[in-house]
Symmetry: C2
Subunit: 197 residues, 2 copies
């Protein structure tokens, strides 16, 4: 049962990590990010402050943990798409998967409007680039160390999703995030499809 025991531990760690992250996000939304104290986050999550920073090394990281995990999943979603699917379709599908359930408007707006969280949010999006690049490289069969195409496309796609989030927030709220993301990705399609004829 070694593996299962390890799984148990991993699950537990993930659970507390998510608990802390959720607590941090909730408090940041309620009180505003700069006012949140580490002690409060830890209390809310039911752990010691010392334990809190076994998981996160800054308040920003804890608040944006949700975004980070989302971004990671977006990259992995592309890897999981069927290999015979055209690259452009696979990318759009992976992004749309990642967009469900709809992001939390209030939380996203809080993050976007807080300069201190901006860097962390950008890091979260950047985290999606490596798996995206790997998936693209594998799909079109090039070496990402030699050819810059996968990295460039990954960065462009991540950027398009980020821009979609911004426009979705500023919009009138009647368009779903997935639709906005589809529109932004459309602008990239000529570049994406060019390399996968």
């Amino acid at each position: 049962m070694n593996e299962e025991a390890q799984d148990m531990r991993i699950r537990n760690k993930r659970a507390t990590r998510e608990a802390i992250g959720a607590a941090a996000l909730r408090l940041a939304i309620e009180q505003g990010s700069p006012l949140v104290r580490v002690y409060d986050i830890a209390s809310e999550a039911g752990v010691s402050p010392r334990t809190y920073n076994n998981y996160f090394s800054s308040r920003e990281e804890a608040i944006c943990a949700f975004q980070s995990d989302r971004a990671r999943k977006m990259g992995q979603a592309l890897l999981a798409r069927p290999a015979d699917e055209p690259l452009a379709e696979a990318v759009v599908a992976a992004v749309v998967e990642h967009a469900t359930p709809e992001p939390d408007r209030v939380g996203l707006r809080m993050i976007m409007s807080t300069p201190e969280l901006e860097g962390e949010a950008l890091k979260a999006f950047a985290m999606a680039e490596e798996p995206l690049s790997a998936a693209i490289a594998e799909r079109i069969g090039v070496d990402p160390a030699r050819d810059t195409f996968p990295d460039v496309m990954a960065a462009a796609v991540a950027g398009a999703v980020r821009v979609a989030g911004r426009h979705w927030l500023n919009g009138d709220g009647r368009e779903s995030f997935a639709d906005v993301a589809r529109r932004t990705l459309t602008h990239l399609l000529p570049a994406i499809t060019r390399a996968a004829p």
Copy 2:
């Protein structure tokens, strides 16, 4: 002479800001970013520690100030290109301008390999996006609040330059940064030229 006096003050502020930023970068390269103390940066720049954080609110911000200013200039460079130049050419030209003089390899490598600085570096690149987007929007005559194209392209271009930096660092050093950047931007050209027929 009111205006000139104001100019003088602005120049002075800019000078001390650059002095502090340069000192921070130099010390970070020499000793490694986490070992640099605020007191040392301030001493090196000839100001008080208290003055240092009138200009920067974190060590990371000071160390990456040079990158931030660079990124800003890249955005403004596009605005300054002749209006009749095709968008794709103007973008490439602006990036190449921004690439001279060649970035400092050691400094860039230090920043790229320090996780704490990663967020700040990403913020620096993101700063270039707004002027880039504005320039693109003006050039093709669309409203950036309605049309996502300028923002998406700005993010893609900034991402391509960032990727170029990474590949340039990992390369054998015989290719200039400008050349690598040209290659990465080439991958975006189909998307860029599509909207400016």
